[in-house]
């Protein structure tokens, strides 16, 4: 082995060690799961982690799981992007213009507590059982954290920052673009991160009620077939997808708002 190879190996090992140290609670959990499942010894009641991995590998190679995951990702991200496109401008307008605040705030606070899962029958009635109904439901739930955190970020913009910009000659549009938006951005990104999580949760709920594809549908279908390992394989996929997109959001926050430091899980 050359020294360069040795260095590379050491580097990879160090990386793996760091990874394990960071996520050791997850590893402990998986080991516990494996042991308990082996003791119980009932594949339908609780399959072992390794058997779930085997199913996962098999489903991945057949392409089924990937198709379902792709369909689900498309729906979740569509709802998420729409909630950002609607929530951010609306939150800014509500936070900045009194008239928008007066008009929209009562509507938002009244509709916020309505359980969005309860909308599923109505949305199916109005929009059918296709993707539109699912995306609409994600939008209906995910838009709230975006609106509310954008609103409070805008409202919190310190007056003296706005006054400074004004006395340097900033127009109203420039104040909004160059002061209010950057100041609110960390709050907006926090809202988007919440919206991302909500999008996934709502999506699986919608897919479990009315769908012919997607990871939520796969869970329900597998459960009916008493294919518990497939249920777990789908759940694992969801966890990994959700985790991946959350990290993407987190990285975007750190990149865009390095001036703003906030503790995040």
């Amino acid at each position: 082995m050359t020294s360069a190879q040795a260095d590379a190996t050491r580097h990879i090992l160090a990386g793996m060690l760091g990874f394990i140290r960071r996520y050791y609670s997850v590893f402990l959990f998986l080991v516990a799961w494996e042991l308990i499942a082996r003791i119980i010894g009932n594949r339908v009641f609780l399959p072992t982690f390794t058997s779930v991995l085997a199913v996962l590998a098999e489903q991945l190679s057949s392409g089924d799981l990937l198709t379902h995951a792709a369909v689900s990702t498309y729906r979740a991200l569509s709802g998420f992007v729409l909630s950002a496109l609607i929530g951010i401008p609306l939150g800014i307008a509500m936070g900045w213009y009194r008239s928008w605040d007066n008009f929209w705030s009562p509507l938002v606070s009244l509709s916020y507590p309505v359980p969005k899962i309860g909308l599923i029958p109505l949305l199916i009635l109005w929009l059918g059982i296709g993707d539109t109904a699912k995306i609409a439901m994600i939008l209906a739930a995910a838009v709230y954290p975006v609106i509310l955190s954008t609103y409070s970020g805008v409202k919190g913009t310190p007056t003296y920052l706005v006054w400074s910009a004004r006395s340097l000659g900033a127009s109203e549009a420039e104040v909004l673009r160059k002061i209010v938006f950057p100041y609110a951005l960390p709050h907006i990104l926090t809202g988007l991160r919440l919206a991302m999580g909500i999008s996934w949760i709502l999506l699986f709920a919608a897919e479990m009620v009315a769908a012919e594809s997607g990871l939520g549908w796969l869970i329900l279908f597998a459960e009916r077939m008493l294919e518990t390992p497939t249920v777990f394989a789908a759940l694992l996929t969801i966890a990994v997808l959700g985790f991946f997109f959350d990290r993407v959001m987190l990285m975007a926050s750190h990149r865009l708002c390095d001036w703003y430091t906030e503790r995040t899980v």
């Binding site: 006054w163 910009a165 004004r166 006395s167 340097l168 000659g169 420039e174 950057p182 708002c257």
Partner: protein, 279 residues
């Protein structure tokens, strides 16, 4: 500065009331004041006397409840880069670097056609406030004194006709404040800027002012305008003209003393109402 030059800012019969719930609080009453080109006017008064309010009205951020406020011949109807503002809390944009903060005004639409040599101008300002090497630093990494130097440079970048400063050194420690006062005086001489400076420190007023406007406790009215006949560089007043300097301080102290007692007299009330709430 000549007595015959027309004033830059004219306040005529300015008053201000603040509405809070159903009560109306009078902050300022009948203020008449002219700011002449090139002078450094200090507004001195007990806290809560409305001196900052007066400054914000001259800056165009607050509207007077009564009276007339003009810059040159035009009424003041809102903020303008013609009237720069420096705040006690620096008010830097935390997401921008030192250089971007200083260049903020010059990057706005109004400046695009009017201002030439933007980069060279920013360079010159960075040098003027001694921040070479910190151009790419964010405000959170700077000391208080450095932050206020950035704020001053940012305000000077648009070349305002008059600069308003609201207790700009109030948040700094004593030593930094001394340094900043000297630096401000150097910049004032270098740029020949007209400056209106709010403070509640008698010493600061005596060190900086060409004229001191002494305000009464709330509601603020002009008690007296004290002209200062001392050289602009007063740092070694102890050796050169300590008698005249101490006379000035004494005179300002006398003027303020009654006002401080008046504003102190309000405090027991506040205390009793607070005690009541606690019990």
């Amino acid at each position: 500065m000549t007595a015959s030059a027309p004033p830059i800012i004219t306040c005529r019969g300015i008053s201000k009331q603040f509405q809070s719930d159903e009560r109306s609080v009078s902050a300022l009453q009948d203020v008449n004041l002219e700011i002449l080109p090139g002078e450094l006017v200090v507004l001195l008064g007990p806290s809560g006397c409305g001196k900052s309010t007066l400054l914000y009205m001259m800056g165009g951020h607050l509207t007077p409840s009564g009276g007339e406020l003009r810059m040159h011949d035009r009424p003041v109807s809102g903020p303008s880069p013609e009237r720069g503002m420096v705040f006690q809390d620096f008010a830097l944009f935390p997401w921008l670097t030192v250089r971007e903060n200083i260049g903020f005004g010059l990057g706005l639409r109004w400046a695009r056609d009017k201002v030439d040599g933007r980069e060279a101008r920013i360079d010159a300002l960075v040098r003027m406030v001694n921040l070479e090497g910190f151009e790419q630093t964010k405000p959170s990494q700077l000391s208080g004194g450095m932050r206020q130097r950035v704020a001053i440079a940012r305000t000077l970048a648009t070349d305002p006709g008059v600069v308003f400063m609201d207790e700009p050194f109030g948040a700094l420690d004593a030593q930094t404040r001394d340094g900043m006062q000297r630096e401000l005086m150097r910049i004032a001489v270098e740029t020949r800027k007209t400056i209106v400076f709010v403070t509640h420190s008698i010493t600061e007023a005596a060190l900086l002012a060409d004229r001191v406007v002494v305000l009464t406790a709330r509601p603020g009215r002009i008690k007296e305008i004290v002209p200062v006949d001392l050289p602009r560089q007063r740092w070694n007043w102890r050796h050169e003209f300590s008698g005249r300097f101490l006379d000035l301080i004494g005179r300002l102290e006398n003027l303020l003393e009654g006002e401080l007692q008046r504003s102190d007299a309000e405090k027991p009330d506040a205390k009793t109402s607070h005690d009541k709430r606690a019990s």
